[in-house]
């Protein structure tokens, strides 16, 4: 295992779990073509999991150039490096449900749904990577595929702008159970546990011989309203009820966005295994154990 990243935070999952001693860490930028090619050849890398990204949606609208540079150009660089070295055969790409853009349906979204424009730059930056990854399979016969996820949660997430880390942080620090003005709490999202996500990536990698060039949706297939989600988090934390505060503009119709996962179930035999309550309990436990590091 070789891990490439621009830096290794002391509170990263690999460090806190001690797993860093079992992998080789290489410091570097995915837009550095020379570094990528040399690394792939030198260590005879067979499979690349490309997860590096600027993943925060609000930041994408403050720093669009940087977001495109990392998410789009970075993916192009990795694809071209993989294509032009001798040893690397497979690549699995972390795409996103954001690929589908500002959808209007309340139904589960299928992989064939086209990419629509969005109100944030993160979405088209993922369109750019997703379509390029599939193109390299179609045009060059490479074993590449894209994984589209919605909301993922679990141990190791240090992005506290996301709803579940934010809820847990509020509770651990005894802060008000406040979720700001981004939503009114009615929006329904699909939260996938990180362990199920990791399994999704390896399932795709294992099946690349037959599924190259395709995209796969992953999630639980069950949308949950943000208010209900924060209630469940509170329940899982200490059995108590907290009233979540959402001060976003009231929506006349709640937005619902979740992915249809039947293709992944049929073609990859992948199923989400972790129920929301169980996942929340594991996540809370992990943050409590490592809170000194945050």
């Amino acid at each position: 295992m070789y891990v490439l990243d621009r830096w290794l935070p002391t509170n990263s999952y690999l460090v806190l779990t001690g797993m860093i001693s079992k992998v080789n860490y290489i410091q570097g930028d995915i837009r550095d073509m020379d570094l990528l090619r040399l690394t792939l050849e030198r260590f005879e890398i067979n499979t690349v999991f490309h997860l590096a990204a600027q993943p925060i949606v609000p930041i994408s609208n403050i720093l669009p150039q940087e977001t495109f540079s990392i998410n789009a150009q970075g993916t192009y660089t990795i694809l071209e490096a993989v294509r032009t070295v001798s040893c690397t055969e497979r690549l699995v790409f972390a795409s996103s449900g954001a690929y589908y853009g500002a959808t209007s349906t309340d139904n589960a979204i299928l992989e064939t749904h086209p990419p629509l424009p969005a109100t944030n730059v993160y979405a088209p930056s993922k369109v750019a990577g997703d379509v390029a990854v599939r193109t390299y399979a179609h045009v060059y016969g490479m074993k590449t595929a894209a994984c589209r996820f919605m909301n993922t949660y679990g141990p190791g997430d240090s992005n506290f702008s996301r709803i579940i880390p934010r809820a847990i942080k509020n509770m651990i620090t005894n802060a008000p159970y406040d979720f700001g003005s981004r939503d009114d709490g009615s929006s329904q999202i699909d939260c996938l546990y990180i362990g199920d996500m990791a399994h999704a990536y390896t399932s795709v990698a294992e099946n690349l011989e037959t599924i190259a060039g395709e995209a796969f949706n992953f999630g639980t297939g069950i949308p949950t309203a943000l208010k209900e989600l924060t209630n469940k988090a509170s329940q899982a934390y200490d059995g108590k009820q907290r009233i979540p505060k959402f001060s976003g503009p009231i929506k006349s119709v709640p937005s619902i966005k979740y992915l249809d996962i039947s293709k992944s179930q049929q073609k990859l035999d992948w199923y989400p295994k972790t129920a929301l309550t169980e996942g929340l309990e594991k996540t809370i436990h992990w943050y409590q154990k490592h809170w000194d590091n945050f």
Binding site: E80, G101, A128
Partner: protein, 368 residues
């Protein structure tokens, strides 16, 4: 004299609109960018042309001595992938209108052999233009992206429609253009930038110097490029292809109408074509019209061109080069929004184009 010969009476509102306006054309040394530049110069605009290759020796309408376009515009040599260069040009230029044509490899074969450069130029090049506009103090009135019918991918029904046909382009060039197409509409949604996206079909007309790849220029090189004409080649895999064709003057009018129309901002349009033909029939028509043109000069040679016909050529490159089978754009949206319709007679514009190539290829050493 400058404008009346281009613009029909119903588009007269365009005549004054671009006068004394600051306009940026990226990729202005290319085929379409060059024609847009020429029309804008004719209409009195102050045009800045950005291109990665501004060599005076490059075959381009910009370098034709007879028109002297080069001296009528500001030429800036820059790569659209260079974010700093694009920032500087756009921040200093205070442009009213920006037309983005700069692209890499608008032909499949070139894109397949250089995917990284193709994808970078078509996606990050456009991001750099959008970002420079977003951060500029002086915001342009309109930012135009030349997109392509290839963003749709394989056609399922009779034609592509902007808001009903999903974007499924999967080739190197196709998917890069698809991403750029989504970028422009997102920049309008997220930042209010006045982007206009036009999905174009195959364009023909004089001054297209892609002699190595594109159907018509390539056929012209076969027919007029050597003392003895040879048969133009049709790739075997193109026998089933159908394509939309539009004369370049019509395209320029369509683009200027979109730039003029305030309600077009943030929208995406299909270009309505003049002619929809199977590729073999298009190539046969080119040969027939070349025969007509050649008859005016040398009837023996015309006879040879006729007898040569076309030849079918099986590609050795194999499965890596896959082209979409049928492409046909529904053009009712642009017609409703701007009144645009093709004004050109197909056969006479084709003959005019052929006359240009005949003259150009026979007097190549003298320039154009």
């Amino acid at each position: 004299m400058t404008t009346a010969d281009h613009i029909p009476a119903e588009y007269e509102h365009l005549n004054e609109f671009f006068d004394a306006k600051n306009v940026l054309v990226t990729g202005g040394f290319g085929f379409v960018g060059g024609h847009v530049t020429k029309r804008l110069v004719d209409l009195g605009a102050n045009v800045t042309v950005v291109d990665i290759n501004t060599d005076p020796q490059r075959d381009s309408i910009m370098n034709c001595a007879s028109m002297d376009l080069r001296s009528k515009v500001l030429v800036q040599k820059a790569d659209v992938v260079d974010a700093n260069a694009m920032n500087e040009i756009i921040h200093e230029g205070r442009f009213h209108f920006i037309f983005h044509f700069a692209a890499y490899a608008s032909v499949i074969e070139k894109a397949v052999s250089a995917p990284y450069d193709t994808i970078m130029a078509n996606t990050m090049g456009w991001v750099n233009v959008l970002e420079a506009c977003r951060t500029a103090n002086h915001k342009p009135n309109m930012i135009f992206l030349s997109s392509t019918d290839k963003v749709y991918g394989e056609m399922e029904g009779d034609s592509y429609t902007e808001h009903l046909t999903p974007l499924r382009g999967i080739g190197v060039y196709d998917s890069a253009k698809l991403a750029a197409d989504v970028f422009s509409r997102t920049y309008h949604e997220a930042f209010g930038l006045p982007t206009v996206t036009l999905r174009m079909c195959n364009i023909y007309g004089p001054y297209d110097f892609n002699m190595g790849y594109r159907l018509l220029p390539k056929a012209m090189a076969n027919i007029f490029g050597n003392p003895e004409p040879t048969a133009p080649e049709l790739y075997f895999d193109a026998i089933e292809h159908h394509r939309d064709y539009l004369y370049v003057d019509d395209l320029v009018t369509a683009i200027l109408l979109l730039a003029h129309g305030k309600k077009c901002r943030g929208e995406v349009y299909n270009l309505s074509a003049g002619t929809y033909l199977p590729t073999p029939q298009m190539l046969k028509t080119i040969v027939e019209q070349a025969v007509q043109v050649e008859k005016e000069f040398d009837s023996d040679r015309a006879e040879t061109i006729l007898n040569n016909g076309i030849s079918i050529h099986v590609r050795s490159t194999g499965a890596t080069v896959h082209a979409i089978t049928k492409q046909h754009l529904n053009g009712s949206k642009i017609e409703d929004a701007t009144g645009f319709r093709s004004q050109t007679d197909f056969l006479s514009s084709l003959r005019e184009t052929i006359r240009f190539y005949r003259n150009y290829l026979k007097t190549k050493n003298e320039g154009c």
